[in-house]
Subunit: 233 residues, 2 copies
Amino acid sequence: MCNRKVYMFITVYDKNITFKVQHTLGFLSQKNYDSHIIYSIQSDGMAQKKEHQLPDILATDIVAKSGLFTVESLDLKFSNGEQRKYERIKGGGRGAVMIVPLLDDDTLLLVREYCAGTHDYQLGFPKGLIDPGENAMQAGNRELKEEAGFGAKELVELKQVSLAPSYFNAKMHILLAEQLFTESLLGDEPEPLEVVRWPISQWQELLTQEDFTEARSVAALFLAKEHLASRAK
Amino acid sequence: MCNRKVYMFITVYDKNITFKVQHTLGFLSQKNYDSHIIYSIQSDGMAQKKEHQLPDILATDIVAKSGLFTVESLDLKFSNGEQRKYERIKGGGRGAVMIVPLLDDDTLLLVREYCAGTHDYQLGFPKGLIDPGENAMQAGNRELKEEAGFGAKELVELKQVSLAPSYFNAKMHILLAEQLFTESLLGDEPEPLEVVRWPISQWQELLTQEDFTEARSVAALFLAKEHLASRAK
């Protein structure tokens, strides 16, 4: 018999309590854990955020470092006493931007560029790191000029997203850019990017393109579409 | 006067040719490049994929390595003669899965778990790496049992997405899981995950949750929503 305490946080509807508790006990008894079950009972069906106690960071260490990446190891002690070693990539901290440029009511601009990670050309929205001294909007306008040859008179943030928060602290602001005007800046790209115009009305075809795969571009497409749809109401 | 050739790929509507070419020449003359302009003229407004010549990989080198991450440097020569050194994280190659579990017609299951990269708890869909010998569907069912305590009789792939293809070769299958049944497997999590039920009809509230940030979860939410909407038609 194991004496470790298991804290099980469950969000249940009142109509489903019995079912869910049975399931939980089944899971616990299967592993012979002592259990301490915390219920959050809600009648409106909306989940409510629990207060989780963050694990203590007992020690950190830089375990690998290249020109671009720094890998940090973390010795963690979770609130249930479990200790683990995790690794993460240390982020630059300033964050990044992705811009959904709207050339007119039905035309998106995308770029197709070489990606070393996958060693192929990928279609996606213009993006880049925020430079020192810039805010997200300024970075968005600069990247748009460098990668697509347009500036924007209006930029609005649709959402901040993260990459893979288990391993990275990489925040990206997804921006919608409107009222475009032609203006180019030379970026650090080794070759000019292919600029692609795409009708929003054909968003489903965009999703099926083999080279339109980046999750952040997929999320950005939907966020922009929903933003425009709710504005049109 | 610089003699480097700039290959500018432009997708234009026939109605906009004049405008776009003027813009392009402005960009080129600004930098005094000799230009070789390749036009793709389309009348239907849909972008058509260009054939890009991949850069040659002149040399590769492992420049950093930790328990989890291997950083590889690439010496690249682009088709225009430009040479650059890039870095990327070498992937395991088997890929990963993310599962959107549908408990009933209006109820999604999510999990809230500790993420070391951001050192906080994040809300998202169950996910994990594909183990050796597994296919995506088997991995999806296993992760669903480990993280949410359910198996699925039906799994369908919504899309394959990539993380940040400039730096990683990390493919993820996004799966919709239906016809759930209670079954738990013990995974390698240091503590049980909080399982959260969320009504799909309240997807907009989910998007505004401060801890629902992972781009792949945002993409998965929209992909599932659209899949269900198109099926209902």
